[in-house]
Symmetry: C2
Subunit: 199 residues, 2 copies
DNA sequence: CAAAATACCTACCGGTTGGTATGCTGTAGT
DNA sequence: ACTACAGCATACCAACCGGTAGGTATTTTG
């Protein structure tokens, strides 16, 4: 019988680290607290990850990236009508009122705000993820332009950058305000901005 | 000769704490590092402030609030033409390319992102400052509506909330991207949004 | 089946953290 | 000039931090 399942163990640690980092931030995240959730010890952690920083970067790449991809990139990438897809995403976000995501904020944005100034490796890796996101939105806008649904006089890349930034801004402010209504209002305004992009 | 100047000492500590918190965040900010900049010791710090948290809250109220007021609230509050004033502020921010503010981000937003989920006192105090900011912008928009310069069909308060959120979002993303050009483009898009509010 | 490598645990380490207890000193009030 | 207290320095503390050393048990490999 298999009592040891290293892959499973690794995933357990990653999941616990993700939760802890989401709540406390990376620097304030405690390895002891991460391990307290699991029934594992430091030996297991340091067997799978060389140090705390590597654990954090692994969380970004193996937890946050897939989640963000599933939630935001794929829907937009597939969409035939990009503006409608973006507005639908906003609508969905506003409705669900995801407790964790509203009070704790976007994990990607949280880490960018915290780590970009203090660690170059973190900054680069987070920027890659962010850039990918912007690229997907930009491509969607460009497809909209080609289809005559989106104004041709605007810079797709720059507009995409703004849309993602504004969304992150809205989520961030709502984290402070702690009111789903406030976020909904904010998302509504952003939807209004998107409306203004129509050809 | 006066060798002791308690007010001056207090300000010195506040300034050093502000710089350290701006760089590292509040939780990661070290009292030892704060005091290393000044030539003071823990005795001085704990004479003027009961604990680290009180120091942090004092920084918010006595350093960040006045700075933000001077930089963003007052200009907007005085402006006759609110939309033009907001756009001028964006323009100014984009031009100066303030090193510290671009790579380290907005001190208010940084603290909101970090502290809102983990400390209710911080959240409330930061939210007061943020709310004041939104209120000033909202009043400016309302004045614009009264003057017939701004569309009357929009909710001034909600629009103001979005404008401030989007601005913070743009600053935050630029902190990660570390390119003044990216922030300029983002600010440009926000200016475009403001343009769409004209009557 | 033996040997080697992997997976994980326990105990511990040096360093840093925020915080405190105590003592010296300049200075204002009388 | 004496007192009393504010203003600060020094020395120290327990708790916690990330990380390591060394052992044990379970696999995989030859």
């Amino acid at each position: 019988m298999n009592t040891r399942q290293p892959d499973q163990t690794r995933q357990t640690i990653l999941a616990a680290a993700y939760a802890e980092i989401h709540r406390q931030g990376f620097q304030a995240a405690s390895l002891a607290r991460i391990l307290a959730d699991t029934s594992l010890t430091k030996g297991a952690l340091y067997h799978h990850f060389p140090d705390k920083k590597a654990l954090g970067l692994a969380v970004v790449e193996e937890v946050i990236r897939p989640e963000l991809t599933a939630a935001m990139l794929t829907p937009v990438a597939r969409a035939e009508h990009p503006l409608r897809a973006l507005q639908a995403l906003l609508e969905a976000k506003a409705q669900t009122a995801d407790e964790a995501l509203l009070t704790l904020g976007c994990p990607l944005n949280n880490l960018m705000q915290e780590m970009s100034p203090v660690d170059e490796d973190f900054r680069r890796q987070l920027n890659r993820l962010f850039t990918d996101w912007v690229a997907v939105v930009a491509e969607a806008l460009a497809r909209g332009q080609a289809a005559g649904e989106v104004r041709r006089d605007l810079d797709a890349r720059q507009t995409a950058y703004f849309v993602v930034s504004a969304l992150e801004g809205c989520i961030g402010m709502s984290k402070n305000t702690q009111s789903p209504a406030a976020f909904r209002g904010c998302a509504l305004q952003l939807a209004g901005f998107l409306e203004g992009l129509k050809a």
